[in-house]
Symmetry: D3
Subunit: 289 residues, 6 copies
């Protein structure tokens, strides 16, 4: 009995957070270990369902990563990258879309449904959710990235409509160009743009790092809170670099559109989402206006 | 961190229960220690707010008890009882109504509001919620109980309307007679009638006992589950007696109207409500069809 | 037959007024004789029900007065007043709340229900309708009024929600402080604040005077219409004084929030409400912007 | 003042009737003096507006009568009747429609609008409200009545839709045949059919007689209440004859479809409608199931 | 089969237009041959029904013309005109209303219903749709036009309400004056005012001319597109004259109220409406802002 | 001009069909040439968008076919079939899902969106739309088909919700098993089950044959109409065989659930859908109850 009472107390401790986020939209970029580790996949799905049950509107964007390269290799196709981004020729584009939309997206949908939620997976083509244009990498004028795209416009009607019918939307980062062509878009950028378009309360990026570290590799140097105004200098000084740059940019664009808080957190920690949302201290790095 | 992860796990363990009771109405008879002990009052209020946040529709009925006799004595009026029920003359009736509706009801409302809910207190007069008729005690033909009443008809429109606007209804057990007169009604009976009228999923009676005991005073003899068909024999044999009788009758009338389960639980246990609803085993005695 | 035709004509004469006030909110401060005289209580309740049936939204605020002192005396407690306001110590506060909410409020509810309406009584604690703070009397720095409160904020959601479900809200002038404490508030002030928050068409204060008299005691000196700009001078010159001051202040705050007209009328006249609303001339004193 | 109080009392006396008929549909056949006498036209319009304001749904069907013959004569066309019904050749049909729909209907609409209502006039062609077929007079096999019609089917959608938008529907008794042809239909029959299709509470026929008289011309022999089962015998015995027959048939078909009460009343009496609806005794003859 | 495939292709060619005008309101002035020629009447009705089925909201205003004079002559009344407008004395007014509302309006309603639509005919009196004032012809100070009116105010609620219930509104150009009097109004003016009040996408005037011709009688000189700014000069130079002036004024007032495009087209061409709306080139003269 | 008038006539000829199918659901199995031929893909998409614009609710189910085998071969995996059905081992299952959901489904979505519609693609996992169980081929007890599934239950909520928001649902024939596993299901069976669950008006199967031929290969022997009762005999006699069997079974199950008509038509014909729906004769074979 004692044990159950302790558990009840925990539920009650969460009440002020339920109240605070009631009816609010939280956009979650889901990737890395949170997508690949068998246990964390399940706990993350449960976290999302819990958020829905206590009155929040979670919207999930997932990435692709390893699975894409694996399939490419099975099909005898060698992955090529330019500054960390996948060069996406015609064949690669088809594989990217098949893996993201046909496999990973439905895996996330099924995980959430198995955890007791009602998820619906969509790509940016569905209801013209994500209109995109060809991406030209800054500072690399001669490089053709193929079917890599930039978000041009988010049409959030479909997400709103699914939300109102009680569904959790799971979005694959595929955009649709002016002539119906497929674009492979960075999932962090999509997450930022969706948070902005939905006027979300929060944007949470699940990563495989503890957050932004002031000193590379030194977890003790984690920056808990960062103001938007401080970002530029940290990029200039190289503290923010590599794959962290698109994440920080996603946070920036969300904050500029009125999102209250953005978070880069460690998806390798079990229940990272709940820790971020339902504790005062949170985890990882938060970037605020 | 570890501690927080453990807490998150507890939230997730509750998910299947959130899902099971989503959108369901639970009628709670609130009385005894749960109303009088300073700590338990607050934890019970928090339990109710939690139920609302995770999608259930709790409806609260409170009793009166000690507070009424205290005020009567202050006003130089001696409480009189007949077989455990308060003989309610004209003056007593006014005091009963003032204490129940003007004091205890608003205390419960405020407790729930302070815990983060939105409660509205009503008496059976409001919106003609509880229509009643004069009560004549069975087996005591000569006794006039005064303004004691029996539930004649529940009009649940007001409760439904408050529910749909996000409020938690808190009901004082006062009925209104055909000519607008006040009736003092047993709170257990009101709870049973409300559960029946609202076609509730559950009726939970918070009491100051562990439940129904097969052997008086021996908590080890607690009956966990009772079928409706077994009740009559247990009353005949004296196992169910005294104040337990109206409670069991309330359960009976609720079950006959289609309520799925009814529970007589120990309100002295902290978070008794959550233990009942969010654990498989539950606590106290459940009476089922 | 002739008699019935005359009656029909009267109904028809009222048509232009039904039309004028269709869908409009009228806040009514109900007190004095209108609450105490057996006949006038009933006719006033009927007036309110009629207003509802012909498409208006009446909202009723009642006071307390004599009944509170009577109960206090029964409980051996001596009423104390400071400049016409009841000094409200802890025990007094409990009595005030019990009498207002548990007795008078439900009496008004029952009167309206008996007249064919659907009334619901609420206190300022229900749905946090009236948030209040401790009142400090101006010009009496050393005086502690105890649990007397000032309206800090009205949250009209509950009133709107009851209105839309066809109920007539009856409000007891009890506020809730920041920590859930009870505040005894002047009913006129509550009426003014509610009219303001509901953007009512009219505020009508039922009193035991013919209205504002230019010469004390001389009913022939009744001021029919007063502009807001004239009020200050009349207070300065003592024409408006005593219990009339909170009434005039309630009118002022309502008018400043956009209420079209406010009325101080003689509740001792039978059907005073209908006379005010359904005749061109009206009765009593109207204060206009 | 006294006079106004008396008037207020009259309003209050009407309350129980407002309550009784709240939300109920009353179909009114408007014809004879009620349409032709300058004063009664206006009072009847006001009666209808009052009914709408106090929450009833009046639906008006008007006849034609004298105006049609007047216009026909102006156009050099001689009216021809067979057993009291107008033989309607092609030219007559056009005149009937023009006078009913283009003149009388809009007169009623304007009277109601001037009295403060919002009326919309429709013919049976609008929204295919009244589908009709050619009428063949029983017992006169060789007679061709031309464009006289029988109601075949009422499609009440348009009436419901106008009602819900706050309008009072005013219906001209013109039907539309299978090929779009115009049919001149007896207004009493249309009223009966509409009451049946709308599942009205009441059907009220305004006539130029006191009601059904047991002895021709003797007003003292007025039958106040008639059961449906008694009608046949009264027709057989000639007590019900001539123009009263279609009226009684309209009542019959309405009653058989579930209308609660039907009334044949004297439209020459000022405020006849209110007298019927808002007094216990009513006027004229009521036919009940 | 080949023939059917060609037909299917035609349907598909229309898709971009269906899309472009989806949910848009188009006000159509219906008169001249489109109302009088047996074949064109039917095809125009079908065009309107098609517009409704593919998601547009057509609103029809019809004129009167020849039919009014015919009936007047039958009634021995000589039509009198002043500068092309009918001088409307009391008797003429009644005839105008009967013919417009009782005959022509219902003919249009029936045509549309026979073509598969759901039409409802209204005059400006219904729901006080068109409030009007007496018309005084400019430049003719001594002339009394009788019951000719000017649109004073359009109350589009009734049109909106019919639209939302799936009906096509058909409006007769009759206005209602302050005292309920009938006004005969130019149908083009009513069409312009309705387009303005409904914030229509388009106003289309069906006429018996090819459009505005630069050289009188020379169809080759048709002006396809006219800017609002060019109108004044064309009136001054006499290119726009006679009956074309009220049409151009109707277009002007619609454009000034925000209507996107207005069209004066040749109603003698079969399917003129569809040609205008569902081809890029359109027909007749369009006047744009 | 003449040419345009002819086109307008064609639109008008379609009106009776628009009217007949207004608001009706039509389930379309999309496969074979209609999916593979560049021109027919586009015209079919346009047909579907047209159906939506004229008020029908098309729901599309697509198959897979050639594309799956192509990708399998690229991945060095040999397709294996048993009685025409793909044996679906674990690896094959992943490829099937990726190709159906990630590629073909989004191609159909994009085609429809490019044609001016708003399509949303879903798999049976989304919103648990298609719950399935492992398929055991009748008559082949020892054969393990792997992840081939049978429809167990359709939950049409998601389709309804998309429909009400104006979207066209495009469904990939993937089911979800009890433990979240993927099932590859015959698209014809899914189409039949969806038509049944949605209580569709029609089920249309686009095939690469003219319909059911009485004599193999002889198009002149096409059976235009088949009653459900005749099917069994035609299967027994071998007239219906091979891939036609699941199609006929889909029709059967739809008809048994109340679908009015089912059609097996030749998707190689351009605009086959419109020919079927918008001509009286239709094309292919219709199976009716």
């Amino acid at each position: 009995m004692r044990e159950y009472i302790e558990k009840a107390k925990v539920l009650i401790e969460a009440l002020p957070y339920f109240r605070k986020f009631y009816g609010k939209t939280v956009v979650i970029k889901y990737g890395g270990s949170a997508m690949e580790d068998a246990e964390i996949r399940q706990t993350t799905a449960a976290d999302i369902v819990l958020m829905k049950y206590v009155g929040m509107n979670p919207v999930v964007i997932h990435g692709g990563g390893k699975a894409i390269s694996e399939i490419m290799e099975k099909m005898g196709k060698k992955p090529v990258f330019h500054k960390g981004m996948r060069v996406t020729d015609d064949e690669t584009k088809d594989i990217v879309e098949m893996v993201l939309v046909g496999r990973l997206n439905k895996e996330v949908v099924t995980l959430i449904n198995q955890a007791g939620g009602k998820a619906v997976g969509v790509s940016g083509k569905d209801g013209n959710l994500i209109r995109s244009s060809k991406y030209y990498p800054k500072g690399s004028p001669g490089v053709d990235m193929g079917f890599v795209g930039d978000v041009k416009e988010i049409n959030p009607d479909l997400i709103r409509s699914l939300e109102q019918s009680g569904y959790i939307a799971v979005v694959a980062p595929i955009g649709v160009g002016e002539n119906g062509e497929t674009h492979n878009i960075n999932a962090d950028s999509v997450a930022g743009a969706l948070a902005a378009a939905l006027k979300a309360e929060k944007l949470v990026l699940l990563t495989d790092t503890p957050g932004i570290l002031r000193a590379k590799g030194d977890e003790a140097s984690l920056i808990s809170t960062l103001r938007l105004s401080e970002v530029e200098q940290l990029v200039a000084s190289g503290v923010i670099e590599g794959g962290m740059i698109p994440k920080v940019e996603a946070c920036e664009s969300a904050l500029k559109a009125g999102v209250s808080k953005t978070h880069i957190i460690d998806g390798r920690i079990i229940h990272a989402l709940l820790l971020e949302i339902f504790t005062d201290k949170g985890i990882g790095t938060q970037i605020i206006p």
